[in-house]
Symmetry: C2
């Protein structure tokens, strides 16, 4: 069966300010030493399984040109611009009807555009298996991540280790972000995975799920499907999409459906949730620093310094993040990196939107 | 007797990098909220005692234009440019022969150009008294600073509290920078002052001291004196000045002379030795920060942030100094501010002299 991929690339990614901006979110940034952007790496990673002409990018009009620039081999009609954001269920539904209008049926791999994977071979092998499980019936397959610490910022997938199907396990339930004690018990239990938002299913399977669990959304999606390839497409999309129920696929479908399987991804996944991730991803020097750009560091340890043109000189710093750009410089402790959003809130309040 | 002033403004002041540069040392920077530069404040402070036409600025050719720009009322011939730096004794000698060529005798007040004084009235009153003591005989007068903590970075003046002359005390000796225990004993003793490099004497007195204690320098100074006002001045200066003994006035004259008196300066003196001084000098906000320029500070306490045009956003910082300029940004802990010179050493080593 034909393999296709939907890569979700509509996110704003404020947590990489000031490198990321409203007009240049995280998925279009390079945060690795190889200089490739996150979305480029995502497409490259799936390319052994999916031909570029069967890759769809879900985004919005603001980022259409960025997608074209960064993915020059992608057919332009595969850039799916949502008129408004309606969470992941309508986004996935839009991708599904595009695939369905091109192929009678097909396997659909759904991936975020802004995660990093260390081992692409294991990633490929995992998704080969996931595709087999998806093709073998009306199964919804999600690839979870084996947790290695009790993270409280992710949802978890509880699976039944006795119900194995070609290396995948039957999912018992999806659980919300836990408190620390609960997260510790999940880790000890050994049958919980992090929910990473990566899915595989047949298009026919997911559309049947929309029909069953999100019926009005399903009807809207069918109207959009009928317009694909016609002059009316943009008009119909603009009319129908905003009326689709704003809902996550986890809540709208996964938590309601049966026949859900999960595979444990052990391919070095990182959701690159903040500047702290750069300390894990990029090469560290002997002092524990990640330093790039025009920087002179004196007595500086365990810092992340992303310089640009201007000279950045640091003295005596420990565990500090410095990110320089043409018009703004961020200086934050690693510990307080989560408060970067307060800077953006302040800028909005002050009307300094040029920096957002 | 005519009062004159020699303001020494040849220093390089690396410790205020990146605001200070080779071509813009500390004395030409504004480090106070009023926007006036240190040398402007120095001239303003002495103006109740000395007419601007009797103020001499000792500097070098690199800074001649800066002096002209910042002190437009100063006669151009009062800018004394040393061909090479030869420490304070020849510098003071050069000032002395300029005054001596203009007036038969006069009182000469010698001041650094890069210290700050909180209370100008007390400063004036102190120097009025110092002038009286200097005029009353062949006295060398130094204005010391009453210490309020055991500083190990300054030299000290030991005076005899029983030998009082119009509010001034006879100096017993000058002592080098002490270790901490010694500094504590000086503080406890109560008859030690910080040596701040501020002097008052008659021109005839100091020239007699040169004659007695630095005779070859004295002879060179006389040759320069004879050329003042002639077409040969620059030629003679260039020939003679480099041959003068490179010596501090403290070691070359003060430690050898008798009839030395000191007055205790209690006018809120600050030698503005590093960026830390800005935290003492400028207004602090409720979080203990000094913040200027284009800055958004989130959860930031006890920091000094001197922004410029580019937006500086800080998150979670404590006791950090940030100084932004057009081409370089310094980020240093307060604790390690003394290591800024290592940045300059690194820049020199790398050949990045454009930042010096």
């Amino acid at each position: 069966m034909k393999k296709t991929a939907l890569i979700m690339a509509g996110g704003k990614g404020e947590r990489f300010w000031p490198r990321s901006r409203v007009n240049l979110p995280k998925q279009f940034l390079s945060l690795t030493d190889d200089g490739k952007t996150m979305i480029q790496l995502t497409v490259e990673r799936i390319s052994p399984l999916v031909d570029i002409k069967d890759v769809y990018i879900a985004t919005n009009e603001n980022y259409r040109e960025l997608v074209k620039e960064q993915l020059p081999g992608l057919p332009e009609e595969n850039i799916l611009c949502e008129p408004v954001g309606r969470n992941t269920a309508p986004c996935i539904g839009l991708g599904a009807v595009h695939v369905a209008s091109k192929y009678e049926d097909g396997v659909m791999i759904v991936l975020p555009s802004d995660h990093l994977i260390k081992n692409n071979d294991i990633f490929k092998d995992t998704f080969v298996k996931a595709c087999e499980v998806a093709e073998s019936g009306s199964n919804l397959v999600t690839v979870g991540i084996t947790p290695n610490y009790p993270e409280t910022g992710y949802g978890y997938i509880k699976y039944n280790k006795d119900a194995c199907n070609n290396g995948s396990y039957s999912v018992e339930k999806f659980v919300e972000k836990p408190d620390l004690e609960t997260a510790k018990s999940y880790l000890a239990d050994g049958t919980y995975l992090w929910n990473s938002g990566m899915f595989v299913w047949k298009v026919s399977t997911i559309l049947n799920c929309f029909k069953e669990f999100m019926n009005s959304t399903y009807n809207g999606l069918l109207k959009i499907k009928d317009s694909i390839g016609t002059d009316d497409y943009q008009k119909v999309l603009n009319e129908e999409f905003p009326n689709l129920e704003s809902q996550s696929v986890d809540y709208g479908i996964m938590e309601k459906a049966s026949d859900i399987y999960t595979l444990a991804g052990n391919f070095g996944w990182d959701d690159v949730g903040s500047w702290l991730a750069v300390g894990r991803i990029k090469a560290n020097d002997s002092e524990g620093n990640v330093i790039n750009g025009n920087v002179v560091a004196v007595n500086t340890k365990d810092c992340i310094i992303e310089g640009a043109e201007k000279l950045i000189a640091t003295v005596g710093l420990r565990d500090i993040i410095v990110v320089d750009t043409k018009d703004a410089t961020l200086i934050s402790t690693k510990e307080n990196a989560g408060e970067i959003k307060k800077v953006l809130a302040q800028l909005r309040e002050d009307g300094n939107t040029q920096y957002l």
